[in-house]
Amino acid sequence: MLLRAFIRAALAGVAAAALSGTALAQKKYDPGADDKEIKIGAIHPYSGPASAYGTIGKAIGAYFDKVNAEGGINGRKIKYIALDDGYNPAKTVEMARKLVEEEEALLVFNPLGTPPNTAIQRYLNQKKVPQLFVATGATKWGDPKNFPWTMGWQPTYQAEGRIYAAHILETKPNAKIAVLYQNDDYGKDYLKGFEDGLGDKAKTMIVAKVTYEVTDPTVDSQMVTLKASGADVFFNITTPKFAAQAIKKAAEIGWKPVHYLNNVSSSVGSVLTPAGLPNAVGIITTAYIKDPTDPQWANDKGFQEWVAFMKKYMPSGNLADGFNVYGYTVAQGLVQVLKQAGDNLTRENVMKQAASLDITLPMLLPGVNVKTAADDFYPIEREQLQRFDGKTWVLFGKVYGR
């Protein structure tokens, strides 16, 4: 009798071992994933003062439609839950809680803006839900020690500012610099990187620093002030519409400094054309992604794929809007992460895969890759300088970043 009990127990033990832990056909799921679908939650400002960025969310949705039409990821379809926070952090908190507690999404994807992301960072890390590929260039999103569930995406503003500073120190070490920046986290982050890059010389080289608000109708007054400072280098930290105003005004008042323009506003179609192409000759910026309005990419394979995608899946989308390229590219990044996760769709594995990326994407500039590691939560770091020649951006110099 004892023997029978012993054999029964042994058989049970073997059976349990066989069923539980071998690598073959092992599927692990967290809320939001199962055999059929993966629920991806995203929060973007579709209404309110930052609604121009809402098209990123739409482009992401269109790309997921494409992926689903082509069979999904490892046989699973993507269920995309797109919520609107109106760029109001209080609303972002509510939407994040909705995604985690009510919709039970696997992860929160590409939330946009520094204050909205700050509002939900602690909550998502407490709940151990990935806050993946955050849509802002603020430097604080690559901090795996303190916030292991949060990861940035694009090159940080500070890194970009440092690149300009390095270039100025190389080419014009005795320059007098004037800075125009938006009075918020984005503007200040750029400025910090720039000043850090100049080091001790920042205080002597920067002769004028002026801010503007998004609610200001124009920046004309600020441009006049900057010209009056006698500077011969201009660092222009403005969003697209103000950038166009600044470029136009500089030309109108006859100020021709060496003009460094932040990458956010470097679109040929949305910024330089309204500003007047002749006025923009000589402007320097960095780039990591292809500008859809730049004629040099017309025959590029990646660009043509993107246009085909837009025409089929987002026909009402604006082909001149760089945000649609951004959304397309970041969605591709997520798809890569999910593909790498295979059948282990736990949140922990998603973060692990996000921290093991090493790919290139078709709309990124040649030489720019997406690379992460356990201590490197900055996926895209490489950028290159480019100069405007009146028709298109011409890349020059080396590729910065690791």
Binding site: T215, Q222, A244, Q245, N318
Partner: protein, 290 residues
């Protein structure tokens, strides 16, 4: 000195923007004694209509003319349909209706024309003869357009019988009715004119600040400040108020308090004007009999 002059003239250019919005506000106030909070959004919507026409290939001035006409008609219809039922209602009711219109127009602009920032062409080419040392061609052009609108309004009110009837209806509706003026229709015409002026303002502003549904959000408050400063029932005052506000904003921002408190300046200006000089610079002093 050159810098200072540039600031002043940049302020004048901005002031033209504020002044044209203030003109529309004053127009409605003169006709109905209400301040239209939805003025900015209506102007934005009109500008979108113009943009859509231009996208379809219409020449600029044709689109301009059609937009002004459509806006006039729309303003008329809005007054007849939306505002007439609450004509005699208390102020709060009217304010709520205006806010409601503001929300509706903003939502419509966003829904029909999406939120991407669009550029709007200026009829005044950058290198045209209008360009001077301190003003760009467009700035000069918008200034001239605004003066033309102002003079046309003045002539309309002073020398036409319709204008006279409107003034009568605003000043003393009961007596006006007794002489056969259809007061309700005068209010509607007032709204139509204000909507048309708003459309012009929008089309002059859009090339500078770019077109998106929230275009007027930053400007409306300065428009109010200008209208109140100049005297809310005086069109000339509105224009001058606009110029003063524009220059003041720039000078204070550049030399005194920095660019980070501009909205506070507007707030102080509004509260200050209303408490110290309620009639504004050029308005009529109102005395109520108890």
């Amino acid at each position: 000195m050159e810098g200072f002059l540039h600031q002043v003239f940049a302020g004048v250019a901005n002031g033209c923007i504020y002044g044209s919005v203030a003109l529309a506000l004053v127009m409605i106030y003169q006709a109905t004694h209400h301040l239209n909070f939805a003025q900015g959004e209506m102007a934005t919507f009109s500008t979108f209509i113009a943009w859509a026409l231009i996208q379809q290939g219409w020449p600029y001035w044709a689109a301009f003319a059609v937009t002004v006409a459509v806006s006039f008609a729309a303003g008329l219809v809005i007054q007849r349909v939306v505002l007439r039922p609450v004509e005699r209602a208390p102020v709060l009711t009217n304010v709520n209706v205006f806010i409601g219109l503001l929300l509706i127009f903003n939502a419509l602009s966003g829904w029909l024309f999406d939120h991407t920032v669009k550029s709007f062409p200026s009829p005044f080419a950058q290198e045209s003869f209008l360009k001077t040392r301190f003003f760009s061609a467009h700035e000069m052009g918008s200034f001239l357009v605004m003066m033309a609108v102002l003079l046309a309004l003045y002539a309309f009110f002073r020398f036409t019988s319709l204008g006279l009837a409107m003034r009568a209806a605003a000043l003393n509706p009961d007596s006006a009715r007794l002489v056969g003026i259809r007061v309700s229709w005068m209010l509607a015409v007032g709204w139509g004119l204000a909507a048309a002026i708003g459309a012009v303002a929008g089309m002059m502003v859009a090339p500078v600040v770019f077109l998106d549904p929230n275009m007027m959000a930053g400007i409306l408050l300065y428009g109010f400040a200008s209208a109140l400063l100049g005297g809310v029932d005086n069109p000339f005052g509105a224009v001058i108020g606009g110029l003063v506000v524009g220059v003041l904003e720039n000078l204070l921002g550049a030399y005194v308090i920095g660019t980070e408190l501009k909205l506070t300046v507007a707030l102080v200006l509004i509260v200050g004007t209303l408490t110290l000089m309620p009639a504004g610079l050029f308005g009529k002093r109102v005395v109520t009999r108890v």
